[in-house]
């Protein structure tokens, strides 16, 4: 681990607080931040959080650069940036809207995903087969299953609220789309189980419906 104190992470109520050393120069801070996120490994992966910068006064461009570092190294989805070094507050979307595109590839898998098997993918996932109980899929995009869905899926892991989960036979145990979550403790209704169906996010809640025209 990096022992440098130019950058210190703290967990806050609303997200991560990044405390920057006032005395350190910006390029050093940027470098240390990159290294620290790398060292953290998968700790941040797929997380969706707000970030607060404290300590050193930063320019708008400098904040944008640090957010880039988070995005590059951790695949983290920053929902809000609160710059308490100055009075600056920036909506993250305006900071980096040009980013994202290369990661939206579709992963195809032509076999069953069995209990204990996990797929994590940047983009959408298409399974030509069944997803059995105990299997897990994490995708930043949508999850489409040409078969039975009996396991767990998290679509839109980085906050994409347009992501869906669909399957020919829809009987998951538990689903997540962006930050919403639903459990099917009693199983899904037969009409959903027996017809091609999909789950989508609307007004912060997950809905399941049959695919019909």
């Amino acid at each position: 681990m990096t022992k440098d104190n130019a950058v210190i992470f703290k967990g806050g109520k609303t997200g991560i607080i990044v405390i920057l050393d006032e005395g350190a120069d910006f390029s050093h801070i940027s470098q240390v931040l990159r290294q620290k996120i790398r060292d953290a490994g998968n700790f941040f992966a797929g997380a969706s959080t707000s970030i607060t910068f404290k300590g050193k006064v930063l320019s708008e461009d400098e904040i944008a650069e640090l957010i880039e570092v988070f995005d590059d190294e951790a695949g983290i989805n920053i929902t809000y940036v609160d710059d308490q070094t100055g009075e600056l507050q920036i909506e993250q979307k305006s900071v980096k809207s040009a980013k994202k595109s290369s990661s939206d590839e579709v992963l195809y898998r032509k076999s069953n995903l069995r209990g204990g098997q996990i797929i994590t993918h940047n983009g959408s996932v298409v399974i030509l087969g069944d997803v059995n109980a105990g299997a897990e899929i994490y995708a930043t995009g949508s999850v489409m299953i040409f078969g039975a869905m009996r396991g767990f899926a998290h679509a839109g892991t980085e906050g994409n609220e347009k992501a869906i989960v669909c399957a020919f036979s829809f009987q998951p145990t538990h689903l997540k789309i962006a930050s919403a979550e639903v459990h099917f403790y009693e199983g899904v209704p037969d009409v959903i189980k027996e017809n091609p169906s999909y789950a989508f996010l609307q007004d912060g809640a997950i809905y399941v419906d049959t695919i019909s025209t």
Partner: protein
């Protein structure tokens, strides 16, 4: 060259060892030369089920450690000359053998037999990895219970990951009268989830308990229903064109009469 088959399940107590013993005896009865390997080191059972526990001199771990030659450790079956058992060690644990050593051991027997059947321990840890290391084919034993099917699914995933492509199901302890009433998973419920070929279906048969305790195997008993099912399984191992044995419930004569009256 022998065909090397591992009998596995994930979950314990579903009938791996009974299946191994019965398939072994049935293959031997059909004239094949067979060696059964008990890979459940530390919890050996296959010798008891085969009724050979008093004849063990050397075990699998001693062969691997070079204490004896593999031929010295093979125990000849009391029923068939062409059937041998390599017993597990009772005093060691799974870590006493590595997958590479298993591959070498099984390889040293492959030239002399038609079939090598490996009885896998329950679980997915080292014992499982040892047991599947040398296998070309796998028989997954499951019972019609959700927990057993869940574990079998995990096992199939691990077998596929280990590049074992020929994976077939033996559904054990079927109770036709319960499946008919919808109170037990049916064969198609199980294959819907597992999506693997079915090698055979074995009925729940109380006589298995008594034959097993006596060190006899069901396939050797003429009247045993489970025995007939295992003979069919063995026949389908040798020739996959053999038809699968259907299992029907013993409907009592009086029930049939009642049904006729209900219909009218």
């Amino acid at each position: 060259m022998a065909e090397i088959i591992v009998v596995t399940s994930g979950k314990g107590g579903v009938g791996k060892t009974t299946t191994t013993a019965n398939i072994g005896v049935a293959l031997a009865a059909a004239g094949k030369s067979v060696v059964l390997i008990d890979a459940d080191i530390g919890l050996r059972n296959l010798d008891v089920v085969m009724g050979l526990e008093n004849r063990i001199v050397y075990d699998l771990v001693q062969v691997v450690e070079g204490v004896c030659r593999v031929k010295q450790a093979l125990i000849k079956d009391k029923r068939y000359e062409n059937l041998h058992l390599l017993a597990a060690a009772q005093t060691k644990d799974k870590g006493a053998v590595s997958p590479e050593q298993m591959v070498k051991l099984v390889g040293s027997l492959a030239d002399d037999y038609d079939y090598i059947v490996i009885d896998c321990p329950a679980g997915i840890e080292q014992g499982f990895q040892n047991a599947i290391a040398a296998a070309q084919r796998a028989i997954v034993v499951a019972t019609p219970e959700v927990s057993s099917v869940r574990d079998a699914d995990r096992i199939v995933g691990l077998l596929e990951a280990a590049n074992i492509k020929d994976i077939r199901l033996v559904l054990n302890r079927i109770r036709p009268e319960l499946t008919k009433r919808g109170e037990m998973l049916t064969l198609s419920d199980v294959t819907d989830v597992l999506a693997i070929d079915v090698l055979g279906v074995v009925p729940d048969d109380e006589s298995i308990v008594t034959t097993t305790n006596r060190g006899e195997v069901a396939v050797a008993e003429a009247g045993s229903k489970a025995g007939a099912a295992f003979r069919n399984v063995a026949a389908r191992i040798v020739d996959e064109n053999v038809a699968m044995l259907e299992i029907t419930s013993d409907e009592k004569f009086i029930d049939k009469i009642r049904k006729i009256f209900k219909k009218s």
